[in-house]
Every structure is written in structure tokens, then in C-alpha cells.
Amino acid sequence: MLEVTDLSVSYGAISALGGISFSIEAGSIVTLIGANGAGKTTTLRALSGLVRAKGGRVTFAGADITNLAPHRIVARGLCHVPEGRMIFSNLTVDENLAMGAYLQKDQARIATNRDYVFGIFPRLQERLLQPAGTLSGGEQQMLAIGRALMGNPKLLMLDEPSLGIAPKLIRTIFEKIVEINRRHGVTILLVEQNANLALEISHRAFVLETGRIVMAGESRTLRANPELKAAYLGG
């Protein structure tokens, strides 16, 4: 579904990604793990067109999307939930969801998507008319994911969904991610610092270190890898 070949990104003179290649199969959950500054967020931003790739190629569903404008990439079904729950705090929950369906023209489909989002996150329906800035951290993350789902994603990219959320809620959010994948067939690319949890729910994983992929494989196998255990899984 997604094919990344030799993708590189630089911020000015500083290289953030030094040519990474990986692919994602339709229907799977793939996770990208790595330390701070390894290039995880940059990878997602390059895939969704928010930063320009210096070199390499990104193919999505058979078409070359390298350096397309972000709104054209979203229109093809590659949706990005940015790090730090970037919701529109001055709009209501309802309006945030409406913005998520910005590129959708089919009203019936939008209504179905809303029900589908409320089915996954009933909390959002309870808070419909509240300004999004007044939601709790966990609810804001739910809203950010819900908003992305309004855009009919084929591939959903989640950047650190556990960041700054109460530990109790993290598990709920991850269960929802699995539900979105299993029940609704959305392919997922998950970037996470919480490597334990990410490896637990994903099929495949890539480990990023200073802009390069240093390890790749089935999540189950990687969880048992002693090197990875020492570096990311806390012994």
C-alpha cells in the first residue's frame, strides 16, 4: 500500500533522514520506534507532504505522491494525526470533526463517518458542542484521531498518541487503534516512544536511529531481541 524508497529530508544543512526505505502492507499495523530526534516525526511529515523530501520516492496505492501538496495527499486517503494532539481549540468538537471531513463532498458518507467515529469514541458525542480546548488530554487525542477518520483514510498515521495522556487512558487509546484497524480495515502507521505497547499491537516494526533504519522485522520477533530490549524496552 505504501512504498518508501530512499527517502531523505534535511532541515537546512542538517540531515534529518538519510535515505530510509520501507513498505507497508494493506491492512497491517506498522510501528516506527526510536529515540527522540531519530527522525520519526520527520518521516511522517515527509509522507504527508508537510515537509519536503530532499530525495527518494513515496508511492501510495500505486501512485507517486512524493512532494505533493498536503491536501492532495489527504485526498488520496493518507491521513496524519500530528504529534501533540493538534486540535483546533477554538472550534467545538462538532466543528473539529466537520473540518476533518473538509475534502469530503458526499453528505451521506460524512454522516456515516460521524456515527462511526461516535461508535469508537462515545465520549466525543457527549462533548459535541464544547470548545475542543476544554477537553482533557485523552479526549483531545480521541478527537484528533476522530477528526482524521472523518477524512476516510486508507492509511492512518499516528504520531505519539500516548504523549501526555493519563496512563490509564493510554491502553484505551491503543485498544481503539486496534479496533480501527481490525473492524474498519484501516492500515496504520504508528510512531511511538512507548515501544512496548507499540510492539504489542503492531504486526511489523522499524527501528529508527539518527535518520536511518537500523532494524526491521516482525514485532513479535523484535520484542524478544536482546539489543532492542536493552535500548528501548527497559531491559
Binding site: S48, G49, L50, A69, P70, H71, V74, A75, C79, H80, V81, P82, M86, I87, F88, S89, N90, L91, E95, A98, M99, G100, Y102, L103, P131, G133, T134, A144, R147, A148, M150, G151
Partner: protein
């Protein structure tokens, strides 16, 4: 009929009512009212850019001057040629409306020319580019002799009356309100709240910023046309950096992204220097002190209910 449209009709009727009775209103009060109306147009339109869309333009007076000069050129050059020496009120008014539109559209084109290359820049950079634009426009008018050069343009016909000013103020408020409260228009607020998130869900934020910029420039041009045909004389110095700052202050004081607050601030800041006239030389000091005080007491602006909810 939807509520905003009814509001616009009511405002237009009220504007006409005031105009019909303008003989009985003290001319000084009428002048202040015209000043208020023009400032409302300027502040409410700038609020679309600086408030709702979260950009920072410092060039509103520049766009105003484009409208002022262009519309004055239309009425002064075209008027005598079309109607000869004496023209009816109807002819004058239609010429004036055409001149205002020309001024507004000219300013909008200027807005597009400045906006397209610079709206990719963020925050401070955009402020500097618009500041630079305002100065360039001023210097161009200062050295362009056919439009009066540094001496300015004199003898502009006095076509502006209270009806035109209040009607355009109402129309500005109406347009901005309809734009921002539409499904399309939530994109302005989304762009302001979080540009990256807005892009990530597929908004073309550059286009939103450009639309906001061009619409705001259009109304600044209209305000310039009204101003020129009210004062009957315009000079490049009247549209300097200070004028832009005055408008920015109205937006900040009113509460970024709150139209009602910005209207009140425009009224307040136009009245304040007038009310302070008796204290003569201390006027500007008091004016500045009041501004500082207001910002300390209400840093979020006079009327910023939504932000207030978010941050407390």
C-alpha cells in the same frame, strides 16, 4: 431570511435613517461618526487576517491608500468627462460607487500581489513584508507627481456621506461574519488554531490566508475611498505606519477574532482622542496610558469570550 441578512437590512435601514436626519445632527458629531464608520471597516476587515486567520499584517494603511488614490483618480478624472460641469445627485452617487469599487478592487489586487509570495512566510516575517509594502506604497505616492506627489491630492469631491460610510461598515461586518461562520470559513479559525493540523487534514492554508488577505485589502481600499471623499484631500503621510498600527491596536484591544469586540474597540479608540481634546497636549499621553491600562486589565481583549473559555 437568515439572521445575518436581516441584520444587514436593518443596519442599512438605520444608516439611511441617520442619513435622512443628518441635517439635524451637529456637523462635528457627524464627522466623528464618519470617522468611527471608517475605522470599523478597517478594523473589522483587518481582524479577518490578524484575528481569525492568525496572521500578522502591518500594512493595512497601505491598502487603504491604494483605494483612496485610485477612487479619487476615478471621480476626479472620469467625473468631469462623463457628466461635464454639473451632474445630478444620482450620477454622482453611481460614479462614487464605481470609484469605491475600483479602489477596493485595486487594493485587493495589491493584496494578492503582496500576499501570494509572502503568505508562505510565518509570523514575524509576514509582519515585516507587509510593513515594507506599506512604506513602498507611501514612497511611490509621494514621488508620483500626477497624483499630487508629496503635497497630496486636493479637491476631491465630497461624495462621502454618513449613509455610504455606515452602509459599507455594515456590509464589511456582514461579509466577515458570513465568511467566518460558514463551513468554508471555519478554515480561517482552523488555520489560526493550528496550521500544521489544518494542513494535515487537507486544508490548503496558503489559500485561506490569501483569501483573508485579499478580502481584507478590498475593504481597506473601500475605507480609503470613503476617507478621501470625506476629507477631500489625501497625502501619502496620512497612510503611514502609524495609521496601520492604530488599526492593529483596535483589533488587539477588541479581542483578536471577535468581531463585536473589534467594532467596540474601533468606536472607543475613535472617540477617545475626541473626548480627550480638552486636555490638549496631554491627550496622546493619556491615550497611551489608557491603552496600557486596558491591556493590563484585559490582555485577551475587551470581548474575547471564546479564548477566555479556553484558557481558564
Amino acid at each position: 431570511m437568515p439572521r445575518p441578512h436581516l441584520g444587514l437590512l436593518a443596519a442599512l435601514a438605520a444608516a439611511y435613517g441617520i442619513f435622512a436626519f443628518s441635517d439635524r445632527i451637529d456637523p462635528y458629531h457627524l464627522d466623528v461618526l464618519v470617522g468611527i464608520g471608517i475605522n470599523v471597516i478597517l478594523a473589522v476587515s483587518l481582524n479577518l487576517v490578524n484575528g481569525y486567520t492568525g496572521q500578522f499584517s502591518l500594512g493595512h494603511a497601505g491598502f487603504m491608500s491604494v483605494g483612496a488614490y485610485l477612487s479619487a483618480a476615478v471621480t476626479m478624472l472620469l467625473g468631469p468627462r462623463l457628466f461635464g460641469g454639473d451632474s445630478s445627485a444620482w450620477q454622482q452617487n453611481s460614479l462614487f460607487l464605481a470609484a469605491l469599487m475600483a479602489g477596493g478592487l485595486g487594493a485587493a489586487v495589491a493584496g494578492l500581489l503582496v500576499g501570494v509570495p509572502s503568505l508562505r512566510l510565518k509570523g514575524d516575517y509576514l509582519a515585516l513584508v507587509t510593513l515594507g509594502f506599506g512604506e513602498i506604497i507611501r514612497v511611490i505616492f509621494q514621488n508620483f507627481e500626477p497624483l499630487g506627489g508629496a503635497l497630496g491630492l486636493n479637491g476631491i469631491p465630497a461624495y462621502t456621506n454618513i449613509f455610504w460610510v455606515l452602509a459599507f461598515a455594515a456590509f464589511t461586518v456582514f461579509t466577515v461574519a458570513c465568511l467566518v461562520h460558514s463551513t468554508y470559513g471555519r478554515g480561517f479559525i482552523a488555520t489560526q488554531d493550528d496550521e500544521i493540523a489544518a494542513e494535515a487534514i487537507g486544508l490548503n492554508t496558503t489559500r485561506y490566508k490569501t483569501v483573508a488577505f485579499v478580502v481584507a485589502a478590498f475593504f481597506a481600499g473601500i475605507a480609503g475611498g470613503l476617507y478621501g471623499h470625506f476629507k477631500q484631500t489625501i497625502t501619502p503621510g496620512g497612510f503611514d505606519f502609524n495609521r496601520s498600527i492604530e488599526i492593529v491596536v483596535m483589533v488587539i484591544l477588541g479581542g483578536m477574532g471577535n468581531t463585536i469586540g473589534v467594532i467596540l474597540a474601533a468606536v472607543l479608540l475613535t472617540l477617545l482622542p475626541e473626548v480627550l481634546r480638552p486636555v490638549a497636549e496631554y491627550r496622546m499621553i493619556l491615550y497611551s496610558l489608557l491603552l496600557i491600562l486596558l491591556m493590563i486589565v484585559r490582555p485577551q481583549g475587551l470581548f474575547n469570550l471564546r479564548f477566555w473559555k479556553t484558557h481558564h
